[in-house]
Amino acid sequence: MTRTLTLIRRRLVGSIFVLLIVVIGTFLLLEAAPGDAVDAYIVSTGGDAGMIELLRHRWGLDQSELTRLANYLWALLHLDLGQSVTFSRPIRDVILERLPNTLLLMVSATALSFGLGSALGIYAGARPGSFRDRFLSIGSLALYAVPGFWLGLVLIVVFAVDLRWLPIGGIETLASDKTGLDRVADIAVHLILPVSALGFIYLALYLRMMRAGMAEVWRQDFVLAARAKGLSRRRIVLAHVARNALLPLVTMLGLQSAQMLGGSVVIESVFSVPGLGRLAQEAVASRDTPLLLGIILTSAVLVIVINLAVDIAYAFLDPRVGAGEADA
C-alpha cells in the first residue's frame, strides 16, 4: 500500500510540471497564430476602428502577452479558469457543461474497442494461423486504415438517412423534455453511431495486440506444462494464454486515452455532439485563448488521472512495476 501511495505522490509532483509546460506551451502557440479574438469576431460583424478598439479593451487584448500570461497563471493558482471571451461566461461552467458528453463518448468507445477488441483478439489468437485469425487480422487492419470522419459519414448515410433506425447526431432528442430512464435510453440511442465510429477504429489496435501477445505466450513453457497436464484447450486459452497477454493491453488503455480525446474532435463535429473536442475546435477558430487553455488543462488532467489509474491497476496486477518505480 505504501508503494502505491509513493507512486501517487511522485506522479502528482511530476504532473504539476507537466501541466505548467502544457499551459505555457499552449499559450505561446496560440499567441503565435495570426489574428486574435477580435479579428475572429469581426469576420461576421465588420465594424469601424472605434468599435474594434472598444472590443480589444473589453476583452483585455490591449494588454501585453506577458501580462496576460501572468494574470492567467495567477488566477489559475486560485483555481480560477477565467472568463471565456466569446461565451462571456466562466470557463469552468462552459467546460463542465461539455465534459460529461465527451467522457461518455470516450468511456463507451474505449469499452467497445477494448472489450470487443480483446475478445476478438482471443478468438483469433486461440488458433494462430487459422482462417478466422487471418480474416479478423485483415478485417481489423482495414478498419484501422479508415479515417474516423469517413466511417462516421457512412454510418450516418446508412443507418440514419437510408434505414432511419438511428438519429443522425446530437447527444439527445432536441427539446424533448425527457427525464429519468427515458432520457438515459434516448442518450444511449444517440450514442450508438458516434461510439461505433470512434470505437471501431481503435478496436483493431487491441485485437492485434491481443493476438500478437497470445502468439508469444503460446510458446512459453507453462503453456506446454498446462497442455501436458491435460487441461482443456478452452481453459488453456482463457486462463493461461489470454490472461498473460492481457497485461500490455492495460498499458495501451492508458496511452490510448489521449488519442481518444483527439479522435473525439472529429467525431463530435461529424455527429454534432456538444463535447470538449468540438469546443476546442471552436476555441481555436475564435482565438479564445483562455477557453482553449481551460480545455487543454482539463484534457491533460484527464489523461494524467487515467494513466495514474492504469499504473495503480498495473501495480496490483504485476507487483514488479510498482516496486520498480517506488525504489528508483
Partner: protein, 536 residues
C-alpha cells in the same frame, strides 16, 4: 408552390433570374396557413450575443429577428421596398435634419410592458449610434430623439443626413430593444443579450450550447392570428454535410443560408418532399471581389488591373464555382438592387490576348520562364466559393503570365493579414451589399480609413475624384440626385478598378414541402417569420 421550386438548369440563366426576382410580385398562396407545429431547422453557427441592436449581422438576425423587431422590414412590393413593422410610417424633413416615425399602437414587450417611443429613442441613442457595428457609421450624426407622445419618435441629426440612407438602413439597423430592461447597468453585459426580450412573434425559450435554440410562440403578438408556428427549434449542425443528411432523414424541415452545399443541391432537389429555393435573399447580396493591394507597383498600374479583369472568365466562374447560383457583376452595386444599379459602366470581356497585350504595354514582359511577376493571393476562407474562386484565379493569372502564390488562412488570420498587416497583393473577399452604398460599399474604395477596419479599403488605394464623389453623395439629400451620384460612383469604380467585382450571389434554402410562406420577402431568412406555417 411550383413557382419556387427551381431546377439547376433554370438557375443557369443567372443574372436574368436575379434581376427578375426583385421585380416579381409577392407570392400568392392558395392554401390558408395552418396553426401550430414545431419548425426545426439547421443552424451552422452559435452567435454569442443575440442582441441584434448591438450586433447587426446575418448570424444574429437569423435567430433574433423572430424575437426582436425592427422599425421596418424589406418587402418585394412595399413603397421604397419596405413594409411596416414597429413603425407604421416614416418621413424625412427636406433639410435632412430630422426624420419622424409614427409607431404601432398596442404593441407589448414579451414581459408585458407596453412598447413606446421611449424604447425607440433609447435604442437609437444608447445602442445603434455608440455600439452597433453598422449603426456607428449610419447614425453617427444622430444628436437626439424627441418623443412628443408615446407613438411618435423624431430623430434629430447634427448634420444633414440623406433620408434615403436612413430608410434603406431600417431593415438591418433598426432593431428596437426595451429601455426598461437595458437602462440598468452596462448594456454590453446585460443578460438580455443572451436571452433577448422583444416585441416579435416568438419569445426566446432556451439555449443549450452546442445543441439548440428554442423559440416559443408569443400569444400576445400584435399581428392578427400570428404567429402560426408554436415553436421554432434551431438545431446546431456544425458539419457541412449534416444539414443535407438531417433534411433527408426528416429530422429538420429547413436549411437556410446555404447550409446545404451547392454541390449537393442537384441531388437533394430530386429527393421527394424537398424543395430548393433561391428566393428570399435578394436583400442580402454577397459580392465576389478581387481586392487589390495598390502598394505593389505592378498593381498600382491601371493597365495591369485591366489585364487581370480581362483574364477572369466571369461566366465560367458562375458555372463552375457557383454551379449557376449567382450572377456576373459589372461594378460595386449588384444587379438586383432596385434603386442604385446601373449597367452603364465599362466592362471587361474575357480576353486573354488583350490581357497579355495590356501587360506587355505596361512594360511587364514575359521572362524566359513565361512569367512576368509573382503575386501573393489570399482567398477569404469564409465560403467554399471564395476558396474555389481563389484556385480559379490562380490559373487565370497563370494564363497571362502572372504567377500567383496561394496563401490559405483561417478566418482570424485572413482578417489580420489583409486588413491590418496588408500582407497581400491580391485577396478574394465577399463584401455584402446592404441596400445602400453608404452602409458598407463605399468604404471598400474610400481612402483614409484606419488600419484594421475589416471589409474596407486596406489596399492603399487613393482616388481624389472618387473620394469627392463619395463625400458629395453622403450629404446629398435629394434621393434622385443621390442615386445619380452613386451611378457615377459605379462608373468610376469600374473605370479605375480599385477592386474587381466578379460575381454576385446569395443563399439557397432547402425545405420540406410542408413549410409554407417561405421566401416571401427579400430578407426572408432574417425576417420575423410571423406568417410561416407548417402543413400537417
Amino acid at each position: 408552390m411550383s413557382g419556387f421550386t427551381i431546377s439547376r438548369r433554370t438557375m443557369l440563366a443567372g443574372s436574368a433570374m436575379l434581376l427578375a426576382s426583385t421585380a416579381m410580385p409577392a407570392p400568392g398562396w392558395a392554401q390558408t396557413p395552418k396553426k401550430g407545429g414545431r419548425l426545426v431547422l439547421a443552424a451552422d453557427s452559435e452567435p454569442r450575443n443575440l442582441n441584434p441592436a448591438i450586433v447587426a449581422s446575418n448570424g444574429v438576425f437569423f435567430i433574433s429577428s423572430k424575437i426582436v423587431e425592427t422599425l421596418a422590414e424589406a418587402s418585394f412590393d412595399g413603397k421604397d421596398g419596405l413594409a411596416p413593422r414597429l413603425a407604421l410610417s416614416w418621413e424625412g424633413a427636406a433639410d435632412g435634419l430630422s426624420a419622424t416615425f409614427k409607431l404601432r399602437d398596442g404593441v407589448k414587450w414579451h414581459d408585458g410592458k407596453p412598447f413606446t417611443s421611449a424604447d425607440v429613442a433609447f435604442s437609437a441613442l444608447q445602442i445603434w449610434k455608440p455600439l452597433q457595428n453598422l449603426g456607428r457609421t449610419v447614425f453617427k450624426d444622430l444628436a437626439s430623439v424627441d418623443t412628443p407622445d408615446d407613438l411618435t419618435a423624431i430623430f434629430k441629426f447634427a448634420k444633414p443626413t440623406p433620408f434615403q440612407l436612413i430608410r434603406n438602413a431600417l431593415p438591418a439597423l433598426s432593431s428596437v430593444v426595451p429601455k426598461h430592461i437595458y437602462e440598468v447597468g452596462k448594456i454590453e453585459d446585460n443578460p438580455a443579450n443572451n436571452a433577448p426580450i422583444g416585441t416579435g412573434p416568438f419569445k426566446f425559450g432556451e439555449y443549450k450550447a452546442g445543441q439548440y435554440y428554442r423559440l416559443t410562440k408569443n400569444t400576445d403578438y400584435w399581428g392578427k392570428h400570428e404567429p402560426y408556428l408554436d415553436e421554432i427549434i434551431y438545431q446546431v449542425l456544425p458539419d457541412r454535410t449534416s444539414a443535407a443528411s438531417a433534411l433527408e432523414a426528416e429530422e429538420i424541415q429547413l436549411a437556410a443560408f446555404s447550409a446545404v452545399p451547392l454541390a449537393d443541391l442537384d441531388r437533394i432537389s430530386k429527393v421527394p418532399g424537398l424543395k430548393v429555393i433561391s428566393k428570399g435573399y435578394e436583400g442580402l447580396t454577397y459580392q465576389l471581389v478581387v481586392e487589390i493591394n495598390h502598394r505593389r507597383k505592378e498593381l498600382a498600374d491601371l493597365k495591369v488591373r485591366q489585364a487581370i479583369a480581362h483574364a477572369i472568365d466571369k461566366d465560367f466562374v458562375i458555372k463552375t464555382v457557383f454551379l449557376g447560383y449567382a450572377a456576373t457583376a459589372t461594378g460595386p452595386v449588384p444587379k438586383n438592387d432596385p434603386q442604385f444599379y446601373t449597367a452603364d459602366v465599362p466592362t471587361y470581356a474575357f480576353d486573354v490576348a488583350k490581357a497579355n497585350a495590356l501587360l506587355d504595354e505596361a512594360g511587364y514582359k514575359k521572362g524566359p520562364d513565361g512569367k512576368r511577376f509573382t503575386l501573393k493571393l489570399l482567398p477569404a476562407p469564409y465560403f467554399n466559393e471564395t476558396k474555389q474562386f481563389g484556385d480559379y484565379l490562380r490559373q487565370a493569372l497563370a494564363a497571362i503570365g502572372i504567377d500567383a502564390e496561394l496563401v490559405n488562412n483561417d478566418s482570424a488570420a485572413h482578417i489580420k493579414a489583409v486588413y491590418t498587416d496588408h500582407a497581400f497583393d491580391l485577396a478574394v473577399g465577399p463584401p455584402v451589399f446592404r441596400g445602400d452604398p453608404a452602409i458598407s460599399t463605399t468604404i471598400l474604395v474610400q481612402s483614409g480609413i484606419p488600419d484594421g477596419v475589416p471589409f474596407s479599403n486596406q489596399g492603399g488605394y487613393k482616388n481624389d475624384a472618387l473620394d469627392a464623389l463619395i463625400a458629395k453623395a453622403s450629404e446629398t439629400l435629394d434621393a434622385s440626385a443621390r442615386t445619380d451620384l452613386y451611378k457615377e460612383f459605379q462608373k468610376e469604380v469600374a473605370t479605375d478598378l480599385p477592386l474587381i467585382n466578379v460575381a454576385e450571389w446569395s443563399f439557397i434554402s432547402v425545405a420540406r414541402d410542408t413549410v409554407g410562406n417561405i421566401a416571401n420577402n427579400p430578407r426572408w431568412a432574417v425576417s420575423n417569420w410571423a406568417d410561416t406555417y407548417l402543413e400537417s
